[in-house]
């Protein structure tokens, strides 16, 4: 029960309180757009492309439109009536609301059937016929570098990001962004090194599969639109819709209640432009709710190829590293070019290396688009550099943990960009893994058909910069408090964390605070809920806004003739000042950290990020040499979360991220056959369940402080993913002596590697 304005001396930061919305979630009453129904609402069902690349010759919607109960069928050309240039996207304006002229992947939206009954719409959508003139297609990110098959005739940067402007109008290429970093002289240092090692690693395309599939609802009024959407970025949706429609931002309201998972799938703009246009065309509320299957055709995680080459001295110091990373972005750039740059610059790993060269490429292909997925490209990079690190240590006969420690970046030392590391607890995380793994203890690798092995890995990430958060904290005349925050609570517990931060400042129990979240008519601007940025950016904004409210309350006390330092209940101040229970105190704040963009030619910058995140993993595995089956017996995950605002939520974020990454490591894979996805359902695309849980899980956040974070805190939603994949591959080699360089590490790939290692390769190897 919320109680107004009862001051507390208990610190609110550091309390492991249950999430504020717990009651709503365990009783099934939490609000999701999934459940939203509006009077007169139409449901849209999408007709999708069946070819990977082709010119649209004809779309025949007559049979669908004739079905009883169908309100209307809409194609890309109909949309031009409302939006003359209907292309959207955060980095490139490359994605049409519905396909125009061309289709670029199997599953691309081509037409929509609207009906009051979603089943009628679905049945009618099956009656649409489209004819295409098929074009050559490209699927592989390396082939896309040189393929004559060109996905986009001309590049169309959005103009939002200065480092993409030079790509304007470029033709005949699938490269959506190339990022280069040069520090020292890697080629010369490699030539002079005692040992040189080179490996290539690959990751597979996977999907976020939030259990609440992507869903948006739009309703139009005289000259305004309200979009109810399962979105991680309501502010961006509003700005992008305003641009598409040529409207001012204040005619568009975007609200996001709770999300049934996001993980990066619900970022930027997805279904919102479509429902907005459909609502304007029909003047009725329109809902588009994807099925689980359709999600696989909407947004995915980049498949990658990463070639990494290191020069190492006799005594085990890494002196040079070359990294070439190719990101398979699929048919539309989404935020891929940001991943290429913002994650690309950490490709050499958390090591102190004097000579570094990085080349990172975002590629268009004829596959479903790829964007951000819990780590923004970092898990793909850590997979490669930590597998490589282990291979180097083994080749030199060095203990993998000692080799890492010897080369680890420390606070005060420059990272590859030249930005000096600060408050990155790399050493502490490695020490903690060592202790939790009892690394010095002799390890029994077994003798029978089941062999045991152990492995470790450590990775880091720079928070995306520069981004802005604005917050508002109000006090009512009875002393109760409301926090207005655009951060979307998609399960990470942000409402609770923001309440704890405001409560800490205002000496109010967090449970007594109401958090109003993500409604652009009520909550101020926030860049987006992504990349573990919210606790740091919005947390700082809420802290500053609460401090502003506190200062204004003191001023109010002075106006009321009360001594400023007096311990007067808040309600008494208002009553004294306004003669009754009336009035408000409104605290506001904007937070944007400092940032220096990288030099275009060298990729170097003295200020790449406001904070670093660190995550490390240790695993013990059992490998069945007769079947190739890998069992994770023990999974240790250690993160640097700064000083946790809510230790319980921090622990669940770390372990949840690690288990999600376990799926991407051991079995999840989108299987394609000439651009056709073969396993777009939970029957054929398995995600981790209770049986996939390691026998034992250990989760730890090291004692640390992020000095520029709110009360020493920083984001932790992604760090649990960093080390899982390479730690398992390293443990597999430790157990059975074979090295896997492509994800996933499923029984078939382990068994094939074992067969090859004993000189009996299986067919197709």
């Amino acid at each position: 029960m919320k109680r107004a304005g009862t001051a507390t001396e208990t610190p609110q930061v550091g309390r492991a309180i249950p999430r504020l919305e717990s009651w709503q979630k365990v009783t099934g009453r939490a609000e999701y757009v999934h459940n939203l129904r509006l009077p007169g609402m139409l449901h849209g069902k999408i007709f999708r492309s069946t070819v990977p690349h082709g010119r649209i010759k004809r779309i025949d919607t007559a049979a669908a439109a004739a079905v009883g109960g169908v309100y209307r069928v809409v194609t890309g050309e109909d949309i031009r009536a409302i939006v003359p240039d209907p292309y959207y996207g955060p980095a490139f304006h490359d994605q049409p609301i519905l396909a125009l002229d061309k289709v670029r992947y199997v599953g691309e939206p081509v037409a929509v059937v609207l009906a009051s009954d979603p089943h009628v719409a679905e049945e009618a959508a099956h009656l649409i016929v489209a004819e295409y003139e098929e074009l050559p297609a490209v699927y592989d990110e390396i082939e896309a570098m040189t393929s004559p098959a060109i996905v986009h005739d001309e590049l169309r940067p959005a103009g939002t990001f200065p480092d993409l402007k030079h790509l304007q109008g470029r033709k005949g290429t699938n490269v959506a962004l190339d990022y280069h970093l040069r520090r020292g002289d890697a080629a010369q240092a490699l030539a002079a090194a005692d040992h040189v090692f080179e490996h290539t690693f690959r990751t597979q395309q996977v999907m976020h599969t939030p259990l609440e599939p992507l869903v948006s609802v739009a309703e139009s009024r005289e000259d305004s639109l309200t979009i109810h959407t399962a979105s991680q970025s309501p502010s961006f949706v509003r700005i992008e819709l305003a641009r598409l429609l040529g409207w001012p931002e204040n005619r568009i309201r975007v609200r996001a209640p709770f999300l049934g998972g996001g993980f990066g799938a619900k970022l930027y703009i997805k279904l919102e432009a479509l429902v907005a246009v459909l609502a304007l065309l029909t003047r009725r509320p329109v809902k588009v709710s994807l099925t689980m299957e359709e999600q696989f055709f909407t947004i995915t995680k980049h498949a990658t190829t990463f070639r990494i080459k290191s020069g190492v001295t006799k005594d085990g110091r890494i002196i040079a590293r070359e990294c070439e990373v190719w990101w398979n972005g699929g048919a539309y750039a989404d935020i891929g070019p940001r991943v290429t740059q913002k994650s690309g610059f950490t490709a050499p790993g958390p090591y102190d290396i004097e000579h570094v060269a990085i080349d990172s490429y975002a590629l268009y292909t004829n596959l479903p688009p790829a964007g951000a997925l819990r780590g923004f490209g970092i898990p793909q990079l850590v997979w490669a550099y930590e597998s490589h690190t282990d291979l180097v240590a083994r080749a030199l006969g060095l203990d993998p943990l000692a080799f890492r420690r010897k080369n680890l970046l420390r606070d005060g030392r420059p990272q590859a960009t030249g930005t000096v590391l600060q408050d990155a607890a790399l050493g502490e995380v490695l020490d903690c893994i060592e202790a939790l793994m009892d690394w010095a203890r002799p390890f029994d690798r077994g003798a029978g058909p089941v062999r045991r092995g152990r492995g470790i890995a450590i990775g880091f990430k720079a928070c995306v910069a520069p981004t802005t958060s604005v917050a508002m904290v109000t006090l009512n005349a009875d002393g109760s408090c409301i926090v207005y925050s655009g951060t979307v609570d998609m399960g990470q517990g942000s409402d609770t964390a923001m309440a704890q931060i405001a409560g800490e400042v205002l000496r109010l129990p967090a449970e007594a605070i109401t958090v109003v979240h993500s409604d652009t008519d009520a909550t101020p601007y926030d860049m987006a809920t992504l990349g573990s940025r919210s606790l740091f950016h919005m947390g700082n904004a809420v802290k500053l806004a609460a401090e502003d409210a506190r200062a204004k309350l003191r001023a109010l006390a002075v106006e009321a003739g009360l001594p400023p330092a007096a311990d007067v209940p808040i309600g008494d101040i208002f009553r004294k000042r306004y003669g009754m229970q009336a009035g408000n105190v409104i605290g506001t704040a904007t937070f944007i950290p400092s940032y220096t963009p990288p030099d275009y030619a060298t990729g170097l910058t003295p200020n790449a990020t406001p904070f670093w995140m660190v995550g490390g993993t240790g695993v013990e595995v059992e490998v069945d040499t007769e079947t190739g089956h890998v069992r994770v017996a023990r999974l240790v995950n250690v993160s640097d979360a700064g000083t946790p605002i809510n230790p319980k939520i921090v622990a669940t974020q770390i372990s949840g991220a690690a288990i999600m990454q376990l799926g991407f490591t051991l079995f999840e894979k989108m299987e394609f056959d000439a651009g056709q996805l073969r396993n777009a359902s939970f029957a054929e695309y398995k995600i981790p369940g209770l049986h996939d849980l390691p026998r034992e899980m250990v989760t730890e956040a090291v004692a640390a402080a992020q000095r520029n974070g709110p009360f020493g805190a920083k984001g932790v939603g992604e760090t649990g993913t960093f080390g899982v994949s390479p730690a398992i591959a390293n443990a597999i080699e430790d157990a059975v002596g074979v090295r896997l360089t492509s994800l996933p590490l499923n029984a078939e790939s382990v068994y094939r590697a074992l067969a090859s290692a004993r000189g009996e390769p299986l067919a197709d190897d």
Binding site: V26, A683, L693
Partner: protein, 171 residues
């Protein structure tokens, strides 16, 4: 004009969370849709659409079913219970309390399914070991992967139930 095959309607009468109700439902409509559209109950949610994730769990005649695969017309005459059902005088039951105290959910979308399956598990096995918990709940998926906390919550709920025997539910 072609007639969609999905328009036949019939009237069903059943007991929903202890109350006698009736609804005109399309023969193609599943139980989750009817609970949402006719009764405003959003706790059962269609996610995978294949009965593989457990988000749509509804209890029909005392057994948990996948509501997304259960045609609403078959609920005629049945006793249907959803997560929204609370026993008289109880705000949260032992299972719900345990889920809150153990932080056994993040986004909360799958939580109603886990709560209903945990109740059924504890009805059948009041003191389950970890293997039984993993096995019994393996048909419920949680993409946030709050699994370690869910296992803790089930154990805690078992303890709570023993300490305060559950009140008989209405119905």
């Amino acid at each position: 004009m072609a007639q969609a095959r999905t328009t036949e309607v019939r009237t069903i009468r059943f007991r929903l969370n202890g109350e006698a109700v009736a609804a005109h439902v399309g023969t193609h409509e599943n139980l989750v849709e009817v609970l949402q559209a006719h009764f405003g109950l959003g706790g059962a949610r269609e996610s995978c659409g294949q009965g593989l994730c457990g988000c749509c769990t509804v209890v029909v005649n005392g057994r948990a079913v996948s509501g997304c695969l259960y045609l609403a017309a078959f609920a005629d005459g049945a006793e249907v219970t959803t997560v929204e059902h609370a026993a008289p005088g109880q705000d949260l039951d032992a299972v719900q309390e345990a889920f809150v105290e153990s932080a056994a959910f993040q986004c909360g979308f799958c939580t109603p399914g886990f709560v209903l399956m945990t109740r059924q598990l504890l009805d059948a096995h009041p003191d389950p070991d970890e293997g039984e918990i993993r096995h019994y709940l393996s048909g419920n998926l949680c993409r946030c992967a709050a699994y370690p906390e869910i296992i803790e919550a089930v154990k805690l709920a078992a303890k709570k139930r023993k300490m305060q025997p559950r009140k008989r539910e209405a119905g």
